[in-house]
Symmetry: D2
Subunit: 270 residues, 4 copies
């Protein structure tokens, strides 16, 4: 099975690069399933109905999110009816939305996507490790699911890497999001789980993690707020990863993807 | 001018991969100057006299550090007499050691290295932006220095990237350390400064950021300390970056380097 | 019912003031039940078997703890057999010890003590609000328990006060610990729960929160570790609170207690 | 010399209790100088020109602030022309406003007020200890100033207490603000500096640190934002401290003050 994972899509430049490049990537990589993190798709903060529909139309099968999932309040009106959008699973009970989705691909294979959020240097949600344990126990890889993809939305590299090992052999891929910078540590862990600390943002990299650089730099210098953060508007790089799995659902490869914009380009050689 | 920058060297596996690979990298890349971050060289925590000497012997010209700089207390006995070892410059006045060094290469060129530490999600040192401003003002690139290399030891991708832009056009390179995971966002910023969010650790990547994975995973699961952290002892990947500068001291290229171990290998094509 | 609550006992001076003053307080206040926080009783870090026994011998009925509960590793050998010592209830499942205890007073009344830990500016344990909800639901005040006492061990005043309101009308008292400084905001909340943001430490207040002041001040100034923290050894103040409840288990009064040492003395007028 | 220090005034209830009680306190205590923290005076966030003028009219001589100093952007239009309003001194150079003020009382005595902000669990400003050192060195107590009052606006009890000892013998008083909860640890430190960890908020204490309790409690439970924070609108308690100094500027006493509202009342006995 072939899985394409796309990191945090940030504002219009992020959406534009996905719209422009995803068709080509689908031609090239022929993924059975496409996951993208949409928490910053709407002006850098959250996601709207219209933007989610555009991304689904462009070929995304499942949108994960993170700490910004509810920045656009309209999501509260549709998230409970929209199975293709996840918010981190380890929010407290009773919060709208859900943190795991079970999907069928065109060829009839079953994919479980779990969206988790880390707690180091972030708000203290429920335990993401306990949440992963629960999901992986309820839906064993190679039995109930042909592939299991975990979006580990977290700040600390240590927590992300610990989650990778925690799920190793039980998930197809653990891929981090949230830092908005792609990491270069793609590997298949010893137990067979594909791992990448961060997929990277889909954004203009002449920026501060996707945002127009002036205001963030000023805040660091002056410790005062000036204007709001807005996405940097130059050409964006689509960042992500490509994972291939075997009949047991374990990964046989993981490759980094960087297409467009300022960053050095990377594509899997098939 | 050619600069080789090596990320956090973690324990024996990190030192071993540097000892094994640095000679080959020097043959291949012919760097005029080699900087390496040594804060985790001694069993994962700090650096000793003997280890520093080994690293200098292997071809490192300057050792930067970070929050772990004084974990081995013996450093306090020699750091004031050792110009080749830096600790973050933005420690309070009166702390032993220094945060910037001015070096002459074999060919007679002058290199300023500045070691800074971020404050987001880290201990609150003095302002790293003010420290950078001071150093860059006192030693203008292309005038007093042929190259200026900044090791921005920090947790948050935003703070590192903001420092890149803050120094853009005034430093040859701003390269991050501390996350122990290489990022894939190497670029020359618009003003001519080479930038990479994190050089990555020199360590075994079947680990939690270089440390044996058992104890860190257990701490995330149980929220209790068991044993101490020790470096993971499998084969390490040397991670870093290669920068080339022009006669003004600005960067003409930056390339990621990953040699040895589990990660996908990367070397500049010259 | 009369309840005496004693804040974090810190090192020998803290134990000494409890040993010296608790008998007098028991004579004066005739408490039916005495809770004390013992997380710093052993040299400032954790609690040992011998120290716990001394405190029980001095008249403490239940020892709560907090983030330092396991600093003395020997506690792991006896906490599962010792019903009178609690650790925060919201540690992950499987951690030794328990977070709530159900006790019978000499006069046959039943007291539930729940030890919670906050998450703001602290390690991310499980949700303390969900834990409180579970305990209060399982053991309703005035039915299953004659009194319910919650030790909310937390850093942020906001989280403590929110817990007070969350439990208001369902617990006899929500009293904070951990800051080692007594607050002066004792009140009975509108629903009948006695509330105090922090009981304060039992320690020498010529100190930095109970610790010898030299090293903490140096760390703030130099951002380097020197020696270990050790308790300040001057005469300590016993800090705590006195709560009286009615037949429904709700509070009719709460008074601050400060006895001995440097702080202005306070005792309830009965 | 007699000094009255009033903690964070929060919204209309805070302003109302100051307006109602300050005249009586001035009659009773006859302070030579009145300091109040105004960072939350305008609806809980910042301070406006009109509100500052009302507070000065009510008898406040100097308004200190904290992390919320610039929440009302209009302050940027007048803070540089208004010597009676301070913002934390340890903001970076170039930020509007100033962090220390030198004032003359009606009887011709000179008072230095220094506003500092802590860094533990707060944004990383410049070093407050270095800032204190600078001010205390430039304006020695008993020589250049008859009294020196330090508002240490900080979260951590440890950092506040360390600042107390750091200034002990060199300032008349170090009084904390920001937690919005009065502490009960008023004492004259060994060197003669009056110390109180937190003056407490001037607010309705049927609240979460002065704010209407519904929304903060919901955020703790659900980890989602609902509405904005607004001040709790019940009767407020004025919280603060009274300090008396000798001819050297050192403190001879410090007393806690709590007047009005739900908290147990406290007034110095003169
Ligand atoms: Fe994001
Ligand atoms: Fe995020
Ligand atoms: Fe490191
Ligand atoms: Fe580090
Ligand atoms: Fe404690
Ligand atoms: Fe504690
Ligand atoms: Fe405040
Ligand atoms: Fe504040």
């Amino acid at each position: 099975m072939r899985i394409l994972f796309i990191g945090d899509i940030i504002g219009r430049p992020g959406r534009d690069v996905v719209a422009a490049e995803l068709p080509r990537l689908k031609d090239l990589l022929k993924p059975d399933f496409v996951v993208a993190n949409g928490e910053n798709a709407a002006g850098g903060f959250g996601v709207t109905r219209a933007i989610a529909d555009d991304l689904f139309g462009a070929g995304v099968d499942c949108l994960t999110t993170g700490n910004h999932w509810a920045d656009q309040r309209e999501i509260l009106t549709f998230i409970d009816d929209e199975d293709r959008i996840l918010r981190p699973r380890n929010y407290p009970a009773g919060v709208p939305g859900k943190g795991a989705g079970f999907y069928e691909t065109r060829s009839g294979q079953h994919v479980l996507v779990v969206n988790l959020m880390g707690r180091v240097f972030m708000d203290a949600l429920d335990d993401p490790f306990a949440a992963a344990e629960h999901e992986l126990g309820a839906c064993p890889l190679g039995e109930a699911a042909d592939a299991i993809i975990i979006d580990m939305h977290a700040e600390a590299t240590s927590e992300k890497m610990a989650m990778g090992h925690f799920c190793d052999g039980r998930a197809s891929a653990v891929i981090g999001t949230h830092s908005h910078i792609p990491t270069a540590d793609a590997q298949v862990l010893p137990g067979g789980t594909a791992y990448l600390t961060d997929a990277g943002g889909c954004c203009d990299y002449d920026s501060v993690i996707g945002m127009d650089k002036y205001e963030p730099v000023q805040r660091f210098i002056r410790k005062m707020h000036g204007s709001r953060f807005t996405p940097a508007m130059g050409p964006a790089t689509l960042c992500g990863a490509f994972v291939e799995t075997n009949e047991k659902g374990l990964a046989t490869r993981i490759d980094m993807i960087r297409v467009g914009g300022r960053l050095q380009q990377a594509l899997p050689e098939l």
